[in-house]
């Protein structure tokens, strides 16, 4: 795979094959299978306790799967000791060795590989240049800022040209501005190296921004694997719909269905939607609609859509979020341009909410949330 500039070595594919891990009666990872292509940036996304970190720890060799196999390239790593796997890991709190200088930290993986002094110095210089820390070789980690420590951890991980780099929420401890900046840098770095990256995060925005593909996990299971756009536009179940981006999830009953398209009775009126699966009239369902797809207009008798009352407008900069209360008490969020006419609607005003049918996704046959 040619990724253009200065590809030093290409990454290897990762194959997670039917992997499970149990702790007593708790199943942390349940039968997860996943193919990561060579050079791909894949995020494992999920709430805490979803099993994403356990999966990463198994790839690193710190945890043993109870079932299944882990392959990197053609090599079965399932029973290989963590120090013999040759894949790098970037830890959440960096895990820099505090008694060593930046250069000594980066030299560590080179020393364990028996790389000679001259080559070592060269590689350290390159790695430091790569993360723009050339001046800091002689500093101790405690003398660096959080962002700088993060870069050192990165340099230490890439210095031995690993084909796969595991990252465990590496930007979690940074403030928002710096995090966004580092996301871009990390992505560029990965492109240049051509290494395969498996990136654990609970931040869906981060996953969508950086990843080639995202694997969403919940309760130890892989619930959806897809391109960021796919996850956003076509979530496979209510959990993904709710977890990725902002989403209205409105409970209702299907009144008429034709294949995967349907009309559905919601709190406040009738609406249209399409489902990822065939639907049955009369079934309970939930409609997922993004706030930016909700169109609001002043209430008119007989207008199609959901009747409601505007309760609050929240200024968010470029967009304004409008909260609409439906007759049964359900709250509907709409996101509109701050300069649009809709943003000028006043609290208390009766409104009608509607949307294009292909933008609403109907989930039927899923248990409603407790």
């Amino acid at each position: 795979m040619n990724r253009g500039i200065a590809t030093r070595n290409s990454g290897l594919s990762v194959h997670i094959d039917g992997v499970s891990r149990r702790y007593g009666r708790v199943t942390a990872v349940a039968d997860v299978s996943l193919q990561v292509a060579a050079g791909e940036f894949l995020s494992l996304l999920g709430p805490s306790g979803s099993g994403k970190t356990t999966l990463l720890m198994m790839l690193a060799g710190f945890e043993q799967p109870d079932e299944g196999r882990l392959l990197v390239g053609d090599r079965d790593l399932t029973h290989v000791a963590p120090n013999k796997r040759g894949i790098a890991m970037v830890f959440q709190r960096y895990a820099l060795f505090p008694h060593m200088t930046v250069a000594e930290n980066i030299a560590f993986p080179l020393r364990t590989r028996g790389i000679g002094r001259a080559e070592r110095d060269e590689k350290i210089r390159n790695a430091l240049a790569m993360v723009k820390l050339d001046e800091y070789a002689a500093r101790k980690p405690a003398e660096l800022s959080g962002g700088q420590q993060q870069r050192v951890a990165l340099a230490r991980a890439i210095v031995f040209d690993p084909p796969v780099i595991l990252m465990d929420e590496p930007l979690g401890a940074l403030d928002k501005k710096l995090r966004q900046h580092m996301q871009v840098e990390l992505k560029q770095l990965q492109r240049r190296l051509g290494a395969t990256v498996i990136y654990v995060t609970h931040d869906q925005e981060e996953a969508l921004t950086m990843s080639d593909r995202v694997a969403v996990m919940n309760h130890g299971r892989l619930v959806q694997l897809g391109f960021p756009r796919e996850l956003y536009d076509r979530p496979a179940d209510p959990f993904v719909a709710d977890f990725i981006g902002d989403m209205n999830l409105l409970p209702g009953t299907i009144t008429a269905a034709s294949g995967s398209a349907c009309t559905i009775q919601l709190d406040g009126g009738l609406a249209f939607g399409i489902a990822p699966h065939p639907l049955v009239a009369g079934a309970a369902a939930r409609v997922a609609i993004r706030p930016e797809h909700v169109v609001l207009s002043p209430a008119r008798a007989g207008a199609p859509g959901l009747q409601g009352r505007l309760t609050q407008t929240v200024f968010n900069g470029g967009t304004t979020v409008i909260l609409v209360e439906l007759p049964g008490g359900t709250m509907l969020h709409a996101s509109v341009g701050t300069r649009s006419e809709q943003a000028a609607l006043q609290p208390g005003a009766p409104v009608v909410a509607s949307w294009a049918p292909d933008q609403a996704i109907v989930f039927s046959g899923f248990a409603p949330p407790a």
Binding site: N83, T112, A142
Partner: protein, 265 residues
């Protein structure tokens, strides 16, 4: 404001009194050791270094002191090795019955020394271990290991496990991780543990009293004998020297424990 500061002053005064109460018996020894008289007096009737000379130039005192130092040094080495390895197993390992092992390790701190002494004497006498350096080092190590375990475990618990995981991930063996990452970071605690172990052995009196022989006796046993027979200020002189040495050692131990506290960044 005033009621609060009065309370604070009262509290400080109480603390000071407790400290004086604790320290006085030790402090009173120093002037008594300078007495020119043949008996222990306080306050001393004059000033002289006579009893220091008596201590430093008496072969039996020097022999006992050297023997104690030798036992303490060997005990220190043995208990640091055992205590550090044990701490790693307790803190990082997944041992079944970890708590039971921990309790057993720390038992010597809780069991009355006289009970240990009698038990050890009954075991050691038939084995011919009484009055031997091996016997002393064996039992003193058992008594000193808990100190090392306490100090070193605390340091290990402060060390994030991710450091060792990072070491493994970067290709180092477990042994290399320990040598290059863990040991340098817990070194101050290990050093403090070593000082405690040394002192635990050097100060140990009760067991030493039981298993000392005529040939090999510790300086603590020698002091006991001296008190029984003549109660001369040489005891005070010896004690003062040991107190000064102990304080010096404790300063070293504390300084290194301070250095081992994690740095704020």
């Amino acid at each position: 404001m005033t009621s609060r500061s009065i309370g604070e002053w009262a509290f400080r005064a109480a603390c000071l009194l407790v400290l004086v109460f604790l320290m006085l018996p030790t402090l009173i020894i120093a002037p008594m050791s300078l007495s020119p008289d043949n008996y222990l007096h306080f306050p001393p009737p004059g000033l002289s270094l006579r009893w220091y000379r008596a201590f430093l130039f008496a072969p039996d005192w020097i022999d006992a002191t050297l023997f104690s130092l030798q036992v303490a040094a060997l005990t220190m080495v043995a208990s640091v090795l055992i205590g550090t390895a044990g701490s790693v197993a307790l803190v990082r390992g997944r041992l079944p019955g970890r708590q039971a092992i921990e309790a057993l390790l720390l038992a010597p701190l809780i069991i009355p020394p006289i009970i240990v002494a009698i038990a050890v004497y009954l075991q050691f006498a038939p084995l011919g271990l009484t009055g031997t350096i091996t016997g002393f080092v064996l039992i003193h190590t058992a008594l000193a290991v808990p100190y090392v375990v306490l100090v070193v475990s605390a340091a290990l618990q402060r060390l994030p496990p991710s450091l060792e995981l990072a070491g493994l991930n970067l290709g180092a063996s477990r042994l290399t991780c320990f040598r290059r990452i863990v040991l340098p970071l817990i070194a101050p605690a290990v050093l403090a543990g070593a000082v405690f172990a040394f002192l635990a052995s050097f100060d140990e009196t009760v067991v030493s009293f039981f298993i000392s022989g005529t040939e090999h006796k510790t300086v603590t046993r020698k002091m006991f004998e001296d008190i029984e027979f003549n109660l001369s200020p040489v005891i005070a002189a010896a004690s003062t020297l040991f107190v000064v040495a102990t304080i010096a050692l404790m300063v070293v131990a504390n300084a290194s424990r301070m250095a081992s506290k994690p740095q704020k960044n």
